[in-house]
Symmetry: C3
Subunit: 678 residues, 3 copies
């Protein structure tokens, strides 16, 4: 280990190197251009207040043009040039894109699909993460880079790999899976018991018989399927840790090490684990809808990034200058979005705003992906907005390192996601991320800053309200943790199909959900009654619901807040409330319509004593960042509407460098303010 | 052979062993539970009047934990326990789920898709039915079971395999296909002629050149495709017969042998052939829609089961306690459905009602599949209804062995299904099972009990009305059989695209359909005119039609009952009627709308002199079971509506043990009665 | 080489052999029938005025029943018989359907999909075009046929292969691709530069590392993907040329050699290249919609056929007698369509009308494909209409060899199609053939005869109007060619997303489209703004648009003819007009609604001084064929409506053999006339 421990926030070690500024910049691939362009880059980066460039993400073929032969000269030159220009470097290991020579020398390291198709070179990420040849080659190039640039003055941060995301079903993966299973289950008997192999005659006699979930005839064993998701996430984390440790040993402690996670898009990873192993949570974010939906999407991703890091600042490593991905087409952003989207991430805790990429590629697979400098060049709306955003972020330097605090949280557990992503479920309407987004959106619409929390997490006590929109899998420990948290005064909402299996994917018997959560909720679910697609139920309070219903029995003092009105469940409880200890536990056994769900969330917030930062007109978002040590706070105000909006608040607006007038602050359409208060 | 021939109905040999009761119970997998649960099982089975348990379906890995080493001790104990508790056993061979040791010892026995993907272990049915290693292993375990339990007092029936359904395209399948082809065609010249290999230069020079219908560039040869379906069905039947014969040689004649066919879902099998080889037709039935559609679906499946067995009683081996499969979700049943669905099958000829499964799995691929004892345990609506149903069936003991008689039949021929399931057809609207369901449903809605019949079947003389909704393939013999049947007084309806190819899939030349059916119908179809998707035609009688039209010429005395009104076919016949000999032959050259089709069926019933059992309010079904020897009959009345319904009938209601009041019998919503009459 | 150069049009060499008649007939597969049928064929062909039969397309297995052993006896007999009956032969090489013996002797020659699935025999086209064994076998059989029949008096034309269309990704294809790449790029450095392999670390160190675009993890390199499309088209052309040259050396010059291209369906070929290498452009055409859409579809395919041949006559080699393919079903034709569809092709330049096939197959994969003699036999509407059509064409003999002249053209470049058929594009609404059809349809609806032209073609000067509906890829040379053409007086319309990449698929920097086209248009596109699916924009002139928008800047004297009205682009130009030199260049940056597009095309036609042949009622098409040497012309009038239509014109109607009355010519519904004028 080199260097001394640093007491600053992890991103602080980065922003300090940037001269105590927020990070601003993007992926920089100078190897795709020539010297004339590099000179223009120097000029334009200064113009745009760029202070951080991510370099090397796709450079393996240039850095190691043949196996074991390195060519660092060109990179030396770029790093020196950037350093001279005052631009720090987030130096990436290029391991997401092995060169053709690697893939041809190691055909066994190429990924294989569940159907047995071995993929070929010609794109990126053409490797199996579990293949020894790949892991060795990746570690070698990462080590060589760290060896050479560990103390290079330009390097301010390390960026391992790029967007860990692909899965493989090959024989290397199978071997690694077996090793992982031995560690998890100990014995084959324990594995057979955990997976319930007595069903469908699946009992394993030897470890060698176990395969990844490759193409098979009917449904797969859900225990195996779930363990494979867990294993793969752990395998990716191991690959990250190998590179991280090699770099750590060759760099200084003030250069944080991270990787870029994809949020709110969902990688095949348990991001809680990654959050524990990176120095700074770094994310990539591309909204999947325009307008106000993009803002909600940003909040959803950013709140997750902050939560995975334990509440500390984090960093937006990639966004698109003009990119809104919507299925089969890429929509453009509206004027002002580049600034407001950047501020939205910073409001939620990011200590900067980076882009993919600096200059739009002229060739290759992503030549239509937007960039800070578009094909049209600097004489363009996009570059002008990028430069204005860089200038604006400069004025926010004092925000760096400050914290966001939430008293409400949505429960998130990758095991639950993976359990709902399986086969043979009672209904296709059980959509893990759809339910998480819905719960988060209701709290966001209510103006409340929201964390995500793990149901067995250590820090539940910091919250007054927990919402569990999708919690099918629940360990005994988590059930007890939630029970105790309610008993101690918390307000909990649990939604349908909760606590139905344990961590081995064994059903909870005697009625759902798992005890002792059942005790806290005061309910026993006797029977699921999924609804037909499109079917709508009417509840006793006039609201409606869809997708699902359940036959419940209550234990006093639990009471029905809304009941079903027709069919077998007529007059039976639909939504229940249970005073328990010093707290209250709610259960919603059906999928409430939007208005009813919002009303329920409003009632829960009132019971939990949680209010928005300030009263706000519709479509305006307010989030506060706090000094870690109790100094001033900064209130971010973001007008996501196409009309002006007036807000009553005081303080000093860092963007305009003016105090808020007594009559209040009027934000233009799509406009923003950052008020220093206190 | 052991034992003496038994004059009773095949199911009678079973119900006699059950103490002359209807069978009631389900799949029982005690190996997934522990002793405490077994003790509760004994208690709950008695409570629920269970008298038959299907054991061993998924037990291969426990029965033969290593190749050639058997462990029967645990099964001995369960059979003894069940016998002591008065529960008879339907003992299954576990051959649908080879254990991992088998699949790893014999990788060549794993199934291969048409695209060449070799499937792996991890589900069930991971074998190729034609692989010698599989067939030998299956025969070995079946023989060992029969050897040990052939005369065990608990065993009342044998259950070979489970739901034969999977297809394989591997080299073993290819070899077996060639053997089958030699037997069918004799010479390569005959095969080349039958398949029309002069087209597309497909002439085969040697048998080795012939492959299963694997992935290829464009359409496949339809003769090859059709023969592969026939071959595969025969291969599955051969696999069944091997096990059956091994068991037959080791058990007594009063223990019938069967397998569970999937109805009305469609296996890849010619179920007429299976009907001839099983002692009792056994089916699994899971409705694919709720409410009245589930009842129609039950009738459709049950009438097929009865027909495949030649009209004799049969047995419902699997149903779901709370399971309605609808594409992407499983809907629950309504209160009362467990009883009424069970009675519906019995009304149509089943001598009992079994479930998959007794106790809902706590782990494995089907843990969400409902069961007689749900996860919530016996203190549940489902178990209470199951127990009530068991009690009700006890009161119907006298019905066992009685027969259902139909005078109307829908023609069904697997060759026709397979021909319409091919490539290159004139329209995607040619839906074999859709048309069969529609014809059956119209007769069911009219209150008429309906059989299915093969167009070349030996027993057509028992019917007064035959409906041929989808008969594209017709042999010369079948065409003559139908002609003669009409001539002798039958009423026949043939629908469009009929008799267009012979059994080699050669087109009928000179006008469709095949002679001499053309003579009986008095029509010559000169040209098909398929309709665009969504197009609607208006006919001269004010009705409408879709999907298809044809240019017909009539031979007197055939006459148009309805004509086309527009386009090239204006004033040309659409629906025709032809008095022929003592009978009448109708032809519908287009797909009539629902009302017109129902009206046509009503007219056909009137012409054929067929009426419902009794006058009925809408939504109430009535079916009669007859004593084989002329004693009393039993009229089942099923109210499939959500309102009470009053029926005028006399007799003694076995369910309530009361005579029908003079004012008539009022069935509650979803209620039923079983009246002994005569 | 044999024979002397012939000054006649290439089709003239054919029609001369037919006795100076238009060709009429179809594919003839006598090997699928017996002698009785052959005798009927002779009779019916005479009855139907058939003078040309395509023979041998699927006869490989009979001609070469074992590798290297030929059996020509049966073919000798058919050719002699046809010759005796006065039917000339279009003799096909059977290389699209290798027999089973070939595919089993050369498993390495079977095609492989991008996912690695090796296809099997059982259909047709089961070979890899690049496999040496296939190429050798194909050349051998073609040579043997030419050797035997090169001067056979029956043979009037040679028909190489059938519908080149399939693609392969196997190792033979990879090897051939590498050879092609060496020829195109010269060095690996040039290839790496062209493909932009610096992105995603794809730099190739050796040619052996390059693979076809097989299954990979994410997007493929667009340069590689584009080159593979080019390579494959060239490979198919090389395969054609090999056979053509072998035949040329063994036949006489008055027997043209061709292949049948599929139009307007799209083969994987650059048809400009094929147009240069065939003696006569021959096409297959199956309309994909009924009614007037079928007529537009015919014009679209026929105008392309004529254009690919450089404006000379061409030949319709296949059409269906009763076949309109619409996705999942085959619709029938209406009475009169057989004649009118045949005339429509001839009107657009075809020197005849052939069908697939003479007699409907009784077996095999295409037994439902319609034919001149249907299953029902000659006593049928279809055969009567076929015979009437043959008689009508006989009366048009003088039209053979005459030319069609167009002054408007739509730009077509296969590179543009392939570029828009790639991955990672900004919007799924960029539909190459959809846009080409739309532009062509607007001109067709306006009554204007239209060619297709290559943007870098040598003959642009013959046109007054060029429309570029989809021109994403534009070389420097083509950009300059278009600029100069406008400057010299042309009227050009360029539509959105034009000139965005060069021929290497490198983006145009500094603003789109490529200079100097930008100069001619007077626009600089700074930013794409694709629209959401379903989104509709309103323009300043009241029209609407969809799919796409762009941020433009204009250079005087360019002016906005219509502007955007909302959002960021409000008051910015949408459709622009730029007087340039002696011409005018228009740019449409969004996809105009149908009415606006038609109005724009009308204005362009007026500016270009192009009018229809004669004033016409709606739904009537008029096209003129001209004598090559300035004699009379023939005006084809086609009434595509279901009502009578009266046209003012003079001349002598060849179909009725009567002069046009003074009151004008009244065409019956679906009727036609062919007027000799001048």
């Amino acid at each position: 280990m080199t260097g001394q421990p640093d007491e600053r926030q992890p991103t602080g070690r980065l922003t300090q190197r940037l001269g105590d500024r927020l990070a601003f910049g993007g992926d920089y691939n100078p190897e795709q251009w020539d010297e004339a362009v590099w000179k223009e880059d120097d000029l334009l980066m200064r113009w745009a207040h760029v202070n951080l460039a991510t370099v090397g993400v796709f450079s393996w073929a240039l850095l190691e043009p043949e196996e074991g032969r390195y060519d660092f000269g060109w990179l030396d030159a770029h790093l020196d040039r950037l350093h001279a220009a005052g631009v720090a470097v987030d130096l990436a290991t290029p391991t997401a894109s092995p060169p053709p020579w690697f893939t041809f020398a190691h055909p066994d390291a190429m990924p294989v699909t569940a159907e047995g198709v071995r993929l070929t070179h010609g794109s990126r990420d053409t490797y199996c993460l579990a293949a020894p040849a790949y892991r060795q080659a990746a570690l070698r190039i990462a080590t060589a880079l760290a060896e050479r640039y560990g103390r290079h003055p330009a390097v301010a941060m390390w960026h391992v790999h790029n967007e860990y995301a692909t899965v493989c079903w090959c024989d290397h993966a199978a071997a690694a899976f077996r090793t992982w299973l031995r560690a998890r289950h100990g014995t084959l008997d324990a594995l057979n018991e955990a997976w319930g192999t007595a069903f469908w005659s699946q009992r394993y006699l030897s470890w060698e018989e176990i395969l990844p979930p490759r193409a098979t005839q009917w449904h797969r064993n859900p225990g195996l399927a779930l363990d494979y998701r867990r294993f793969w996430s752990d395998e990716a984390l191991a690959a990250y840790r190998e590179q991280r440790d090699a770099i750590r040993a060759r760099t200084t402690a003030d250069r944080p090490i991270t990787t870029n996670l994809m949020l709110p898009g969902y990688q095949v990873l348990d991001l809680w684990s990654f959050g524990r192993e990176v120095d700074v949570v770094g994310i990539d974010h591309y909204p999947c809808a325009p307008g106000r939906d993009a803002a909600a999407d940003t909040a959803f991703g950013a709140d997750r990034a902050r939560s995975f890091g334990g509440g500390k600042p984090w960093l937006l490593i990639e966004q698109g200058a003009n990119t809104v991905y919507t299925g089969d087409r890429t929509l453009p952003k509206e004027p002002g979005d580049i600034l407001r989207h950047s501020l939205a991430h910073i409001a939620h805790g990011s200590d900067g705003a980076l882009f993919f990429q600096w200059r739009q590629s002229k060739a290759g697979a992503e030549l239509w992906h937007s960039a800070m400098v578009p094909h049209a060049g600097p004489d363009s709306r996009i570059f002008r907005e990028v430069a204005d955003t860089g200038a604006a972020l400069d004025r926010l330097w004092e925000v760096a390192g400050s914290l966001v605090r939430a008293r409400a949280a949505v429960l998130h557990d990758s095991d639950c996601w993976w359990a709902l992503d399986g086969q043979g479920l009672p209904s296709a309407s059980l959509d893990y991320h759809g339910e998480l987004r819905r719960a988060h959106r209701a709290l966001w619409d209510a103006g409340v800053t929201t964390d995500f929390a793990h149901p067995a997490g250590p820090d539940l006590s910091r919250y007054r309200l927990l919402v569990a929109p999708a919690l099918p899998l629940l360990s005994d420990a988590a059930a007890e943790s939630l029970r105790a948290w309610v008993h101690a005064g918390g307000t909990l909402l649990v939604q349908h199909f909760a606590g139905v299996v344990d961590e081995r994917h064994h059903a909870r018997l005697g009625g759902y959900p798992a005890e002792p959560l059942r005790e806290a909720l005061g309910v026993r679910v006797e029977e699921f009654r999924p609804l037909a697609a499109g079917a709508v139920l009417r509840l006793s309070d006039g609201s409606t619901s869809t997708a699902w219903s359940e036959s419940l029995r209550l234990t006093a003092p639990a009471e029905a807040v809304a009941s079903y009105t027709g069919g077998m469940l007529a007059d039976r409880p639909a939504v229940t409330r249970h005073p328990y200890g010093s707290g209250t536990a709610w259960y919603a056994s059906t999928r409430l319509d939007a208005a009813a769900y919002d009303a329920l969330v409003a009632r829960l917030l009132a019971e939990a004593g949680i209010r928005p930062e300030i009263p706000l007109p519709p479509g305006v978002e307010a989030i506060r960042r706090h000094s870690p040590s109790g100094g001033p706070s900064w209130l971010f105000l973001l007008n996501h509407t196409a009309a002006p909006a007036t807000v009553q608040a005081d303080g000093h607006d860092l963007l305009t460098a003016r105090p808020v007038p007594a009559a209040g602050l009027t934000l233009p359409p799509g406009g923003a303010a950052v008020l220093r208060q206190g």
